[in-house]
């Protein structure tokens, strides 16, 4: 009887705790990973593939609920269908009080979308789910091609490794909480659409060309694009705001620095900023500065410190016993304060690797996120780099500057967008 079965529940990991209090209509904290295949999607097969994938990722059966002191995930068996894409991209998945899963698989034409609420997992975690989903779907759709052998699923982690809260695993108890000073950063102005929709402009281009451009500037792809994004923002900056630095927040996948097979959140953010008030400096000065900032902040020691401070905040005996309602208010205020120090964000999920046998069926991967302020998300698959510029605002000048600079250096870009046509 279902009465006797013990209720299965999990705590939220450290990064996840920030998302529920700061979720609202303007920023749903949902991100989407899309995969474009070469044929129209079959709904029933996709539904079946989802059922099979959920057996490998039982954590996705979670519903977010409010406890007295903290949020928690409760495992529930709910009816959950794949749908044709008809809602705005990255629309709300967590509705307080409502019991539903925190992810949605949808399809449109030849494309499969996976939208996930960020409290559940981060980009890399969701990618593992999507790759498994694609695996089951492609094997079923092209059954005849796979009669002898089935490709290995590229995500090799045991159930307990997937469920691992890697923040808990790696934090060390030697950090005292010290005050953080927030320096005001430039805030990009803009007008929102009446339905708060996320405006996406995606550019796909050959990754080798961008790597060459970065090499010509003596730097890596991420550093170059970070500097380019800042420069694109700078070109639209009214002169009276030049005293405020442009600061970009950059999520870093900690799985690259600390061993973890976790399918949940395991990332930290670093901020990289530049002061544009000195008019004598040029793009190369900007590049040098960004290069140095990356080197300074993107090392294990700095990330570990960051991890420890956040974990210490969470484990502090005094903060734990504060009721959830009050915690939410405090976290919201803290988020608003720290948001004043951020202009935008740039997130590089990196190369998406897929087993060789599946590669001929997959065209491209893309990644988008809900945006409170203009952001860039990018990923690459085989020789295609997909850079999505996401903005809550209607204006497109920053995107224009960004893509034009790349195009002028010989990059062949194809633009697709969800802006009204």
């Amino acid at each position: 009887m279902s009465n006797r079965k013990p209720v299965e529940w999990t705590r939220l990991d450290n990064a996840a705790k920030i998302f529920p209090p700061n979720t609202n209509e303007k920023d749903t904290k949902v991100f989407r990973i899309s995969c474009k295949l070469k044929e129209t999607i079959d709904k029933e097969m996709l539904q079946e593939a989802q059922e099979k994938t959920m057996k490998s990722f039982p954590f996705y059966k979670s519903v977010l609920r409010k406890g007295v002191f903290w949020y928690y995930f409760e495992t529930m068996d709910l009816q959950h269908d794949v749908v044709e894409e008809e809602k705005l991209p990255c629309s709300s998945l967590y509705r307080p009080g409502h019991r539903n899963y925190l992810f949605q698989v949808s399809y449109y034409d030849k494309k499969i979308n996976l939208e996930v609420y960020h409290a559940l997992t981060d980009g890399s975690g969701a990618l593992a789910f999507l790759k498994t989903l694609l695996h089951y779907y492609i094997i079923e759709k092209h059954k005849d091609d796979f009669t002898d052998k089935k490709p290995l699923i590229s995500y090799d982690a045991s159930m307990s490794q997937r469920m691992d809260d890697s923040f808990s695993k790696y934090y060390t108890k030697n950090k005292r909480i010290k005050g953080i000073k927030i320096k005001k950063a430039y805030k990009i102005p803009g007008r929102r659409s009446i339905d708060n929709r996320t405006h996406i402009i995606e550019g796909t281009m050959p990754v080798q060309k961008v790597l060459d451009i970065a090499r010509n500037h003596n730097t890596t792809l991420t550093v170059y694009l970070t500097a380019l994004f800042m420069n694109s923002i700078y070109k639209e900056m009214p002169p009276r705001y030049k005293k405020y630095p442009i600061v970009l927040s950059i999520p870093v996948d900690l799985r690259g620095h600390f061993a973890s097979g976790s399918a949940r959140n395991f990332f930290a953010t670093i901020s990289v900023g530049y002061d544009f008030s000195d008019d004598t400096k040029d793009f190369n000065d900007l590049l040098e500065s960004i290069k140095n900032e990356f080197k300074k902040k993107l090392n294990e020691k700095n990330l570990k410190e960051h991890l420890n401070v956040l974990a210490a905040l969470e484990r502090n005996a005094a903060t734990r016993v504060i009721p959830l309602g009050l915690k939410d208010m405090v976290l919201r205020i803290a988020n608003n304060i720290s948001a004043k120090g951020i202009t935008g964000s740039i997130s590089n999920v990196g190369r998406v690797e897929v087993p060789e046998e599946m590669q001929e069926y997959i065209e491209q991967f893309s990644i988008y996120t809900s945006a409170r302020r203009p952001q860039i998300c990018m990923c690459s698959y085989k020789d295609v780099l997909s850079i999505s510029m996401v903005s809550p605002f209607v204006g497109t000048d920053i995107q224009k500057n960004f893509f034009r600079t790349l195009a002028n250096q010989g990059c062949e870009i194809t633009i697709s967008s969800n802006l009204p046509q």
């Binding site: 279902s2 009465n3 013990p6 209720v7 529940w9 705590r11 899309s34 474009k36 406890g67 007295v68 002191f69 903290w70 928690y72 409760e74 894409e85 008809e86 809602k87 705005l88 991209p89 009080g97 409502h98 019991r99 449109y108 034409d109 030849k110 494309k111 659409s193 009446i194 339905d195 929709r197 996406i200 402009i201 995606e202 550019g203 734990r320 016993v321 893309s366 497109t396 995107q399 224009k400 893509f403 034009r404 195009a407 002028n408 062949e412 870009i413 194809t414 633009i415 697709s416 967008s417 969800n418 802006l419 009204p420 046509q421």
Partner: protein, 220 residues
């Protein structure tokens, strides 16, 4: 494929002008296979709610105006406004918490009791709020939740906590009895008795579930 010669990019989809610079495009449009067209969503606040708010404001304003013109019972307008406020509080509660019925019931119990005490006090303290309202509301809730749970087939785990909270509320009349604050004792005695039965039934038959639910909801 459409092309923008100013931006030097190709554009997928059926655009009238360049999405980056609004410039004129050349070439043949293609179907947008990446993003389906989703028209703007306009959200209007529920018309019924707006009409009700309007009626409430009209009633309040009219009564205050009549009061001021005729200088009759000044307290009447205050009572009307207070009654409307109570109705709105109840309504907002039901709308916001409607997804979880046991929780809604619990909040209503708390609201009704609190309002009853405030009304009683402002009317000169006749004591009817703690003599009758509190015990009867608590007892009724315990019985209703137990029956509703069985009929609606809500899993016991979902409403155990609320029955527990209500039962604990039901023990409050003991304090009033002990201090001697009550003029009429039988409703309170019935309430405490029901609470005692309720708590023991809960612990005996749903003890495991109760412990797990509390652990889950109150984890630190």
């Amino acid at each position: 494929m459409l092309e923008c010669e100013y931006c030097k990019v190709e554009i997928e989809g059926e655009f009238q002008s360049c999405p980056l610079c609004n410039g004129i495009l050349s070439g043949e449009s293609t179907v947008n296979s990446t993003f389906p067209l989703i028209p703007t969503i306009y959200q209007e606040y529920n018309k019924l709610i707006r009409i009700m708010i309007f009626i409430s404001i009209v009633t309040s304003v009219v009564f205050v105006a009549i009061n001021m013109i005729f200088l009759k019972i000044p307290r009447l307008s205050i009572i009307i406004i207070a009654a409307l406020a109570c109705m709105w509080m109840g309504l907002i509660l039901i709308i916001r918490k409607k997804d979880n019925i046991p929780k809604t019931i619990m909040w209503l119990v708390a609201l009704v009791t609190a309002l009853a005490v405030i009304w009683d006090y402002s009317m000169g303290w006749m004591g009817w709020s703690i003599n009758y309202v509190l015990p009867l509301v608590c007892t009724a809730t315990m019985i209703i939740m137990a029956i509703a749970g069985k009929i609606l087939k809500i899993g016991p785990k979902d409403y155990i906590v609320y029955i527990l909270i209500d039962s604990l509320f039901g023990f409050i009349p003991i304090i009033f009895l002990a201090i001697g604050l009550l003029k009429v004792t039988f409703p309170s005695i019935i309430c405490v008795a029901t609470s005692a039965i309720s708590v023991s039934a809960l612990l005996l038959f749903q003890g495991q579930n109760t412990k797990q639910e509390l652990n889950k909801r109150m984890h630190l």
